[in-house]
């Protein structure tokens, strides 16, 4: 079956540093890979997605890298800010309404 996991449950970085959050997945038959951000008391918020035929995509201060060979996904946040503190989930989307979330990594930004 599908499993979507993250390498670390928590990550602490200094304000201004870059953050890297990793995710491993098991099923290769995924159309899209997505990162969501969830702040305390709120629902997940879409950050960025990458299609399975790409290996890199950049957004505003964020970059997602996809390595299909080792089934690994990462989210890089440049110049991390206190407002970036949240739980980050990777998710795989396999078409129709089939989306599976990982367990999440809690990012803490120290001032």
């Amino acid at each position: 079956g599908e499993s979507v996991g993250l390498h670390l449950p928590t990550l602490s970085v200094q304000e201004g540093d870059n953050s890297i959050i990793n995710c491993a997945y098991s099923n290769s038959a995924s159309d899209y890979f997505i990162w969501y951000k969830q702040e305390s008391g709120k629902g997940p918020q879409f950050i960025i997605d990458i299609r399975s035929n790409m290996d890199k995509r950049q957004g505003q201060r964020v970059t997602v890298l996809l390595n299909k060979t080792v089934k690994h996904l990462s989210l890089q946040i440049a110049a991390t800010q206190p407002g970036d503190s949240a739980v980050y989930f990777c998710a795989v989307y396999r078409g129709n309404n089939d989306m599976r979330f990982g367990a999440g990594t809690r990012l803490t930004v120290k001032p």
């Binding site: 709120k42 879409f46 989930f89 998710a91 129709n96 979330f101 367990a103």
Partner: protein, 116 residues
């Protein structure tokens, strides 16, 4: 504009009670999803509606769980005879997409259900 809203935000129920959780999606969003999020875990899919049609209910954990969206807008998730293992945050999400990139979902703040 207004986002997805859910009510109540917090619900405490005694074991065996029935509960009803409400979701108001973003106006005009055709697709609506319910997820269950256990503490420290990612959301897990429960059910999916397109307008008033429930197209997928494969994630509902038991026949005690029931969802409806009678007019294709507001949705209610009902849990009968609640058990302690039902304690979780129940998230609702909506999307303007009906096919293709259905992962572009807008989530509500969730209802935290605690069963005592």
């Amino acid at each position: 504009g207004a986002g997805v809203s859910q009510s109540p935000r917090y619900k405490v129920a005694k074991r065996g009670q029935d509960v009803a959780l409400r979701c108001d999606p973003i106006s005009g969003h055709v697709s609506l999803f319910w997820y269950q999020q256990a503490l420290g875990q990612g959301p897990e899919f429960l059910t999916y509606f397109q307008n008033e049609a429930q197209l997928d209910k494969s994630g509902l954990p038991s026949d005690r769980f029931f969802a409806e969206r009678p007019e294709g807008s507001v949705s209610t998730l009902k849990i009968q005879r609640t058990q302690q293992e039902d304690s979780a945050v129940y998230l609702c999400a909506s999307s303007f997409v009906t096919s293709g990139s259905l992962y572009e979902q807008y989530f509500g703040p969730g209802t935290r259900l605690t069963v005592t």
